[in-house]
Amino acid sequence: MAGASAGITAGIVNMLGILPLWLYSAVLVLSFPVFIIGLFLWWMAKEGTEDIPFIGY
């Protein structure tokens, strides 16, 4: 949730276009993964209990 909002605010700030291009892309490189994962975490279904990895059929 925090990740998603961080990503969106970073995006809005950069939309103003007052930043130089390299800083713009640097911020976006950092915030895009956080934004994606945050978004998914936000709408994801409830977390299950931990289990061991798949060990074969």
Binding site: S25, L28, I37, M44, D51, F54
Partner: protein, 282 residues
């Protein structure tokens, strides 16, 4: 730019879906619909998720972020016409992503996928020779300079044909179901991504979409030149269909054979590079 990023991701996933469809039609199966990969990504992102009890949690999560991050960076380098070296550095570092995905869960299948990914690092060497061969012609590594060179001298596809072939093989080795994709062969369940499910898998799908777009578009820009957006799309489609034919008609090689073939290609490319170099000096 966020819009472009998301568009690039969706395009890449759509191309991967087309890839699957074409392979299926060649093998006389109906195959999934072309937007299957996009649905796949969305489906995984809604699913209930947990991390295996044996996993190294920080690495398990962090490597997904790194995977998306490095390809976002590659996308920007491509858009702004930056150095080709950076894109191919990132391409090589994708090995680390595969390795991290595989090892962080503690699953034996993931581990073997990761180890195979390290062994097949030999596939990256032809790439650098082809990059160097391009640089011998264009005297620069910047994509913008390479594009400018092609506007004067015509597409590099014809000037440096072996380099184009080598890079085609390199892209082929990153496509799913190809002859060189030993890291996710079916005897390892899903290879390095066995234990990443739910939203972490969805993150990996985002990375795959971006990666496909960046690699195909870079190939076109470096070997054909600057194209209008529609022609770029058509070229990527053509490239994907040809890659699908290559993937559908060849069996997956054993790890040993895969590395041997890639090493042979490397040797040939080194010879080609040496010939070019001597030609330039003379």
């Amino acid at each position: 730019m966020i819009a472009q990023l998301i568009l690039a991701t969706l395009t890449g996933l759509l191309l991967l879906g087309i890839h699957r469809k074409v392979i299926a039609r060649i093998q006389r199966r109906p195959g999934p619909p072309v937007w299957q990969e996009i649905l796949h990504m969305l489906k995984f992102s809604f699913k209930s998720t947990w991390i295996p009890a044996t996993a190294s949690t920080v690495l398990f999560r962090g490597v997904v972020l790194v995977a998306i991050g490095i390809w976002t960076a590659a996308f920007f380098v491509m858009l702004t016409g930056g150095s080709l070296l950076v894109i191919f550095g990132i391409y090589m570092l994708h090995k680390i992503v595969e390795h991290g995905f595989g090892l962080s869960s503690g699953s034996p299948y993931g581990k073997f996928g990761g180890v195979r990914s390290v062994i097949s690092a030999a596939s990256e060497i032809p790439l650098f020779v082809s990059v160097a061969a391009i640089a011998i012609f264009t005297r620069s590594f910047d994509i913008s300079d390479i594009v400018a060179y092609q506007q004067v001298h015509g597409p590099l596809m014809f000037i440096a044909f072996p380099a184009a072939v080598a890079m085609y093989i390199v892209i082929l080795s990153k496509m799913p179901f190809g002859p060189f994709s030993i890291v996710e062969s079916k005897e390892l369940v899903s290879g390095y991504k066995t234990e990443h499910f739910g939203i972490w898998r969805a993150g990996l799908e985002v990375c795959n979409g971006l990666k496909t777009t960046v690699l195909l578009a870079t190939f076109l820009m470096v070997f054909v030149g600057q194209l209008p957006i529609l022609w770029l799309g058509a070229g990527m489609l053509l490239l994907v269909v040809s890659l699908s034919f290559a993937c559908a008609l060849t069996p997956m090689l054993s790890p040993f054979d895969s590395v041997t073939v890639q090493t042979l290609v490397t040797g040939l490319m080194l010879c080609y590079g040496a010939v070019l170099f001597i030609g330039v000096r003379a």
